[in-house]
């Protein structure tokens, strides 16, 4: 800090041209002081965000009986393997993770295809009833899930699909929010690119596949992450549809660890911790695209 302040006081204008005040205590120092509350606030918020996660790690390495009472453990204990074994034994966790992964991946792939194509169509083609069609899509977003549960359940029951994966995946493949997100993105897509491709004689599908998709990668990354997370965390619908323990998804299986007179918190914490790993991995892989996707959206406004 002292080094920078002496350096800047030699020639303050080079460090911050916007600071019109004369060099006194050193603008960088002053700026540091001014920003201190901001950093403090950021530090506090980071701690608030990280502590629950740390607690999850700590809790998953202790027996449940140690998680009640005071003082609470702050350091990891030695029960990780015992908890893992119990988690595997009581809910067949490895199988359940595979189920969740399978469902989430299949759902993400197909739902993204639907969203991208619908969004593209609604944004770039002009056809009669386009506005109404978009309106209908948006209206479905406004119907609360609770209203849909019983009728949708009856549809699945009469199709004989209860306790099957297609019943978990199919009803929500056409995702209104995803379609809307893609449509908004494609609205700002440079039309000249599409026109150029048409002039060069590319078919509609080729234009879409070769020209549009590569350019739209950031927004697709955002869509993929959003879609995957929403399916990965989905609880009430898989709970209603799946009736066999070996077909449960992670949230449904973890829920069965809450008992009548006992709650297996360490198992729950470990399960939740393991359940966040695929999300983190997904985020790491798509991070670059995701951030630019967010920024892209912000700039376009």
């Amino acid at each position: 800090m002292s080094v920078t302040s002496t350096l800047t006081s030699v020639n303050p204008r080079t460090t911050d041209a916007r600071d019109s005040r004369p060099a006194g205590a050193g603008p960088a120092l002053r700026r540091g002081i001014l920003r201190a509350p901001v950093y403090l606030l950021l530090a506090v918020t980071s701690v608030l965000a990280v502590v629950p996660f740390l607690w999850m790690v700590v809790a998953s390495t202790h027996p449940t009986s140690e998680l009640f009472g005071t003082p609470l453990p702050v350091l990891p204990g030695g029960e990780l393997w015992a908890n893992l074994a119990r988690l595997q034994e009581s809910v067949n966790f490895s199988q359940v993770m595979l189920n969740s992964l399978g469902i989430a991946v299949i759902y993400t792939v197909f739902s993204s295809i639907v969203s991208i194509m619908c969004g593209y169509g609604l944004a770039t083609y002009r056809f009669r009833g386009r506005g109404i069609l978009l309106g209908v899509v948006l209206v479905t977003m406004m119907i609360p899930m609770q209203v849909l549960l019983v009728p949708l359940f009856q549809m699945m029951a009469s199709a004989g699909w209860i306790d099957s994966y297609q019943a978990v995946i199919l009803p929500f493949l056409a995702n209104a929010f995803g379609i809307f997100l893609m449509r908004q993105g494609f609205l700002d897509f440079p039309v000249s690119l599409i026109e150029a491709a048409r002039i060069d004689g590319a078919s509609e599908f080729r234009t879409f596949y070769r020209i549009v998709l590569p350019v739209a990668r950031p927004q697709i990354a955002a869509l993929v992450i959003y879609t995957f997370i929403s399916q990965w965390n989905a609880f009430i619908w898989p709970l209603l549809m799946l009736n066999t323990e070996d077909r449960y998804t992670v949230p449904v299986a973890l829920n069965t660890m809450i008992g009548m007179s006992r709650v297996d918190y360490s198992g729950l914490m470990l399960g939740s911790l393991l359940a966040t790993l695929p999300l983190m991995l997904l985020f790491l892989v798509f991070q670059k695209q995701f951030v630019s996707g967010l920024l892209g959206g912000a700039v376009k406004g």
Partner: protein, 438 residues
């Protein structure tokens, strides 16, 4: 303007779908299932349960299959916390439910009232055994016409758990405790000598007020469906809770986890709770082994009832079951049999509501955790004494209003009598029922 014409058919389609949904939701268009107690059973059933209850049914399911060749019993652990979401949607939709479901005693009256045609009448199969079951369970799990809809399974017989080490330190003989007044004065001595609070309750959810009410043979409503919470018994129960708080004997905790934590921290010198609390203590507070004892729930006056009910569950056969005959046969096999009910106590800790089962040797065995006291004996003796009470369709709504009255009296110092009077008037307005005795 053209666009309007497009929207209209869409809207009418949606409306038609909604109507169709309602029509189907009504369910029960077919004649109600009537069980034949002598029918020969075969084929397959699926059973929904949770936690240790599922473990127990799985074990008994295998025995049932061996005793009844040609049958298959599939038990699914659907989880306890959200099993009711599945049950409610299935009942509403009229499809998707298995042959047997587990329902807690507290929830049973609500489901029975809301879905009068939702469950099979089990009386033809179990009716002969009525006298052998905990009378409270039987009445709470039957409909207004006396048809048994949810077969009684495990009981929530209440006793008073106490920290024997605190009682020794304070020089109090737990056997001398007979009334709630005795408990309050014991609590004061314990607080003075050991510094521990007498008991921990979650005031926001009603602080066990309804348990104290049931101990005196009262529900929130009487047999005529009138509101009873302005009775002298109710005022006495609420005054008791208020007194304990004013004397600093009560620790207000939040939810289930708060109560477990409080027990481990030693902030509960006594815990009035059902027999299943033993499972919680053994599992979550093993280090307190040897420090606990159990006595009967203190009475409101000498000679009064010394138990109540908290929790417990039962088995029901939905009307939409594919194989109700086999389902009912399995329910009878598992629940109306002394040896099997006793085995569920021994292996899974489910305390029987089938009274003959309570004669078994297991209930007389000394329990190490309780310093060698044969605690189950006490619960076994008290199970038949649980006072039956009346439930109505409005119990859930009334419970919330009563919980608010408990908060007002215990935490905010309102006069118990006027707090209950206010609550009774609120319930009367909300439900259109009358207040008893007015």
């Amino acid at each position: 303007m053209r666009s309007r014409t497009l929207l209209l058919p869409a809207a009418s389609l949606a409306a038609a779908a909604l109507l169709a949904g309602c029509a189907m939701g009504g369910g029960s268009s077919a004649a109600p299932v009537v069980l034949d107690p002598d029918a020969k059973v075969s084929d397959e059933i699926t059973v929904w349960s949770w936690d240790v209850a599922a473990t127990a049914l799985e074990r008994l399911g295998a025995e049932f299959e061996a005793d009844h060749p040609g049958t298959t019993v599939n038990v699914v652990d659907v989880g306890y916390d959200n099993a009711y979401d599945k049950l409610s949607v299935g009942l509403q939709a009229g499809s998707g439910l298995p042959d047997v479901v587990t329902i807690e005693t507290d929830r049973a009256p609500g489901y029975i009232n809301e879905f009068p045609a939702g469950f099979v009448d089990l009386t033809p199969v179990l009716g002969d055994a009525e006298a052998d079951f905990d009378p409270f369970k039987w009445s709470a799990q039957s409909d207004a016409d006396g048809a048994l809809k949810v077969a009684p399974w495990d009981s929530g017989t209440v006793g008073l758990f106490f920290r024997s080490d605190y009682f020794v330190d304070a020089g109090i003989d737990p056997a001398a405790i007979e009334t709630w007044d005795d408990v309050v004065s014991a609590g004061e001595t314990i607080k003075q000598t050991t510094g521990h609070t007498l008991l921990s309750l979650d005031v926001a959810t009603g602080a066990g007020f309804q348990m104290l009410l049931q101990q005196q043979g009262q529900g929130l409503f009487d047999d005529e469906g009138d509101i009873t919470i302005t009775s002298p018994e109710a005022v006495e129960a609420l005054t008791l809770l208020q007194t304990m708080n004013e004397k600093g004997l009560l620790k207000n905790v939040k939810g289930w986890d708060g109560r477990v934590t409080s027990a481990k921290d030693g902030d509960s010198a006594v815990t009035p709770e059902a027999v299943w609390w033993i499972g919680t203590l053994l599992g979550d507070a093993p280090e307190l082994s040897g420090t606990y004892g159990v006595t009967e729930l203190p009475a409101f006056e000498i000679g009064g009832v010394r138990t109540s009910n908290s929790g417990g569950s039962g088995l029901a056969v939905p009307a939409q079951a594919e194989n109700p005959q086999l389902a009912a046969a399995f329910v009878e096999y598992a629940l109306a049999d002394a040896d099997r009910q006793a085995s569920m106590m021994e292996h899974e800790g489910l305390f029987p509501s089938y009274l003959p089962a309570l004669q078994g040797d297991y209930f007389h065995e000394p329990q190490e955790y309780f310093g060698g006291q044969p605690v189950y004996e006490l619960f076994a003796e008290q199970t038949a004494n649980i006072p039956p009470i009346t439930f109505t369709t409005d119990n859930a709504e009334a419970s919330d209003i009563v919980a608010n009255a408990v908060v007002a009296a215990v935490l905010n110092g309102a006069d118990p009598e006027s707090a209950l009077q206010d609550a009774a008037e609120q319930i009367a307005t909300a439900t259109g029922r009358e207040i008893a005795g007015e």
